[in-house]
Amino acid sequence: MMDEIQRKLMAEVADLHSMPEGAYNIRANGISEARNTTANIDIISKTDKSGIDIRIKDGTKKESVHIPVVLSESGLKETVYNDFYIGEDCDVTIVAGCGIHNSGAKDSEHDGVHRFFVGKNSRVRYVEKHYGQGDGMGKRILNPVTEVYQEAGSYVDMEMAQIKGVDSTVRTTKAELAEGATLIVHERLMTHGEQKATSVYTVELNGEHSSTDVISRSVAKDASEQIFEAAIVGNTVCNGHAECDAIIMDKAHVVAIPRLDANNVDAALIHEAAIGKIAGDQLIKLMTLGLSEKEAEEQIISGFLR
């Protein structure tokens, strides 16, 4: 049974307050705590390494899979391999996420390696939240690796958020898109203290009329550091857009590295990056509504990261 700390982490990373509907696999301190499968969605433990295979049958619509992970034992380090095999003509929501509570002296680390094999004409919405808490000296470390292989006509919308409490993260995301496939990524990130966060995206547009939109919004506070690298490779007639929009505060450090790689005359690739402090006129406007400067700042940041 999960304890109160684990339940709180669960609420933060997966908005779960009780057992979810549909298929799920809940992992707590390295052990599968609870699992449920449905007629269309099967979850099988890997035998050669830690992790699970999630198999979703062709034509599965309006179903969801929750696979949250919580760590509350200081010093626990794990690498977990989860593979998602999504059939053709599906429409599913996958909610992952990891919460770490570290009140001890040792570092806690969860490295999730997620691979998505998305069948023809399927739609997938993927939500991943990372959250850390606990007042120990031990670091909370998350290094997610995500690989996405999209077949023709598929559509994947990924929402990745890390708002609080993760000391160190290196996020690596790779995607390969076939004809007519679309990948949308919304990343939201806030770092504070001495935290470091690196995000590297590589999207290969291999199929004709494939497209991607990688959007990152981040806030770097205190002495934290963020590096955002977005590489889009256009190998055919395709559309690619990457956008990095960062608010820098205090003594933070933010780096945005665009990389557009076109191998075809009909590849249309765009990159936009903006780093700046909170605009003074935004603060003034909210202060004229009666908010203090600090309250105004909070509203601007929470809107920006919405």
Partner: protein, 243 residues
């Protein structure tokens, strides 16, 4: 009552001190609808910002209902009952119209209540309430949302800095109607910085500011005929042509 006593505002630029407002005196009585007009560069918008506390006065005092607010910041003045509509409304990323109206009203107003404020400024609420307050909205739309935030605050004093600036003729016609009805919407003192004759026509009092000081102040019926025969009025006509 708002009293501006011997207020000056000067800025330093490359070792020179430039006076923007010089020894300005102005009293605005309770419940009055006052339009401040005058030539460009005369210090009107600066005065509005001095009232809100966006700029600090260099010398002089500002009194609100007898209380000296000269040293108070923007937030404190807002809490004491001053609202401000910016000449150029601010854009936000992620903040929606409904969020701004909720922050303005200072409470968790319902969507219906928020829509009511939008309707009063002539916006079809359903189309706007969930929109982000960003550049995807036109100048006229942003202007009306800005005015709606002032209505939502419902404070004793409302200051509008050139509500007509930067909007097209069609939006302007609608905007005038908003101000014609504003007395029903705002129970308090209204100060509008404006060049527009139609806004001057609905004023109780007109104040002419030129070269950083009050040049004339008086009832509309007295001042408007004079203004319409002055170079300032000619400027007005020219700016209308330019629109």
């Amino acid at each position: 009552m708002l009293e501006i006593k011997n207020v000056s505002y000067r800025v330093e630029e490359q070792d020179a001190v430039i006076p923007i407002i010089e020894h300005l005196n102005l009293t605005v009585g309770d419940g009055k609808f006052v339009v401040i007009t005058g030539p460009n560069g005369g210090g009107k918008s600066t005065l509005a910002k001095l009232i809100m506390g966006v700029y600090p006065v260099t010398e002089g005092r500002i009194l609100l209902d007898g209380e000296d607010i000269t040293e108070l910041g923007i937030t404190e003045r807002a809490k004491l009952g001053i609202s401000f509509a910016f000449q150029q409304p601010v854009h936000f990323k992620g903040i929606k119209v409904v969020d701004l109206l909720r922050l303005a009203s200072g409470s968790r107003i319902t969507i219906n209540q928020a829509c009511e404020y939008l309707s009063r400024v002539g916006l079809c609420a359903r189309d706007y309430i969930q929109r982000e307050v960003n550049a995807s909205l036109s100048g006229g739309e942003l202007k009306r949302i800005e005015i709606a935030t002032v209505l939502a605050r419902g404070t004793k004093y409302s200051v509008f800095d050139e509500p007509e600036a930067g909007i097209d003729l069609w939006s302007f016609q609608n905007l005038i109607r908003v101000f014609e009805n504003i007395r029903e919407s705002i129970q308090g003192t209204v100060i509008i910085i404006s060049h527009q004759e139609r806004i001057l026509q609905i004023a109780d009092e007109i104040v002419v500011i030129e070269d950083g000081a009050v040049k004339r102040q008086g009832p509309r019926d007295e001042l408007l005929p004079e203004l319409l025969g002055t170079p300032s009025a000619a400027n007005n006509a020219c700016s209308r042509l330019a629109d």
